[in-house]
Symmetry: C2
Subunit: 364 residues, 2 copies
């Protein structure tokens, strides 16, 4: 069955109503819904509405707190520690972002470390909002355990996403948004279910030996992208995301994917630099636009090179014309959720066949 | 011919005197010498005394300014822009570091962007000094043009080093220090000279096609490590290192390796976070030590996994016992320089055969 495309507004409404049904205040539900739908619009289905049923069940089971009390544990100059009280990660990041923007405006650079949080969706949703303010944004997070360091055999690390966005002079920032695992955990599960092999370099078995067998990978570990260099980066991101607060390292995290009632105690680190505090927003944005244009043009004659974020931007442009692309599996999950809640199922919306874009790049 | 090991002090004196002979003030010469010798002690010969003859000739030719006037172009809250007046990168970073430590202590986080600089040596020399103060350090830099973005054919980007260090409770910080190119430019030159093939994934030819031919690579470009993810990271580092100041992107940089009189206008970005401004230095350091110990222990039974920075630390411990390891090519270069300046040549020092450690990891 093919990917189908749906109008964005009713999907957003479905997600908002579903989240609100668990006790999440309507504005919080709407923000979270928007972050999920935007991920699908950008072709990052792994961080889109696929996650909605999980969020709803974790909100019911207590793994995510629908009505959290967010607390500033520490505020010192340009930095702060936010305890999110097991909030939806989107609510935690929204609060952290508001604070970091104000502080970066004042001090030129600012950082917020978050503890007791959960999944925040795709990192670019947040860094691109910072870029809209003329700020450079950097964000990373712990996750559940999934990745063995280079040479290791056990899933000590998370998939440790790293998102960096720098504003440009025109339409959209230059944004790198990646998990630091070589592949996505969801794709390993899918390969195991379908008996397909994994690409080389994605995983090791339980004895630390390279494997392309997805079942063996699930009892072993994923690997970082990029060998020893990617592994070093991933270990340092684990330290940045969890060591400045009481947040849990991945190896101590029980993921809500495994137990809907588990308190993940996810940690995030959000950094912002105000381009205006250096040589000025206009100057920086012009330079970054120039860099991005040169990346696009640096291929062999007749070829086009993607600048970071281009695939997601192209997918979003297509989605704006044609609707939000959802996989059949995601539609089935949303139909079931909608039916349970007495809401309009996506399959009963006016959908059309085929997203023309292959989802590209993106976080995992 | 084998690597030989030499006592550190006379090497440092040779480097100091050589630099001072071009007009560099003695304290600046000594600091630069220390950064070069430390790189050799850590097994990162590419950033060690191998570079001394280049520095000396660029200082004579005007590519590096022996007596620069460093100027704060902008100081705003926790951020600043430093113009290094073509100083040795070590002198620029030393000034930037002093400022960033004071500002991070005050504001919790601070950043210095540097323009009109040159090579600063190995990044870990600087981040590890921040970690000694209980600060998390992050540093990146532009370089000369060397790397094509994923899918590209021309050397648009630099090797864009990234160094991140987080303090631990004991001997040494957790430090990732890497070029974001898959391989080192110096190794490609060496392979071309010796007619050896390159590892897969290191380079493309002038038409953007993957190649293991070192000659073809030199007329094409190196590649980022880690495919599209590493490429995205490298592009964003290029933006971070050059877009906040008037520093030159790699594609506009004429490297002093190519022309000793060229003004590179290198850009750096140095970030520091004070662990004491979050949940406290002792708390962060304990957590990071625990993470590092778990990385070392996460291999299959009977194996040992390197935590980031371990190979360099092991090399440094060996060098402390046995002396500073230098390759025959580096010894020849230093002998020639010493003879020219009427100084004691390394070959006339009491050297011994063989460094027992294979140089590991490290920046390129």
């Amino acid at each position: 069955m093919e990917t189908r495309t749906f109008p964005a507004r009713p999907l957003r409404d479905l997600a908002t109503t579903s989240l609100a049904s668990t006790g999440v205040p309507e504005p919080d539900a709407r923000l979270t819904a928007d972050s999920l739908v935007q991920a699908d619009q950008r072709g990052i289905g792994s961080h889109g509405l696929l996650r909605l049923p999980l969020y709803v069940s974790a909100l019911r089971a207590g793994g995510i707190n629908p009505r959290p009390t967010l607390t500033w544990v520490r505020r010192h100059g340009a930095v702060a520690v936010l305890d999110a009280d097991a909030a939806l990660g989107q609510i935690a990041l929204d609060r952290a972002l508001e604070h970091v923007v104000a502080q970066a405006r004042h001090h030129g650079v600012a950082a917020v470390a978050v503890q007791n949080s959960t999944h925040y969706g795709a990192g670019a949703y947040w860094t691109d909002r910072l870029a809209d303010h003329g700020l450079i944004g950097i964000v990373t997070s712990t996750t559940g355990p999934a990745v063995a360091p280079h040479g290791g055999a056990t899933p000590l690390l998370g998939t440790n996403p790293l998102t960096i966005a720098v504003p440009t002079a025109d339409d959209a920032p230059l944004t790198a948004d990646m998990a630091t695992s070589a592949g996505a955990y969801g794709k390993v599960v899918a390969a195991a279910n379908e008996g397909r092999p994994l690409p080389e370099g994605w995983a090791v078995d339980a004895r630390g030996r390279p494997t392309t067998d997805a079942e063996e990978a699930l009892s072993g570990a994923l690997l970082p992208f990029g060998g020893a260099k990617g592994s070093g980066l991933s270990v340092l991101l684990e330290a940045l995301a969890a060591s400045l607060t009481t947040a849990a390292f991945a190896h101590r995290t029980e993921d809500i994917w495994a137990d809907r009632g588990a308190r993940m105690n996810t940690g995030h680190l959000l950094l912002a630099l105000d381009t205006d505090a250096f040589t000025g927003r206009a100057h920086t944005e012009r330079k970054v636009s120039d860099l991005r244009d040169r990346v696009r043009a640096c291929g062999a004659t007749g070829t086009h090179v993607h600048a970071p974020g281009d695939p997601e931007r192209r997918a979003a442009a297509t989605a704006a014309r044609e609707g939000v692309p959802l996989s059949p599996a995601t539609v089935d999950l949303l139909d079931a959720l909608a039916t349970e809640l007495g809401l309009t199922a996506p399959s009963d919306l006016p959908w059309t066949d085929g997203g023309t874009d292959t989802p590209g790049g993106g976080a995992t």
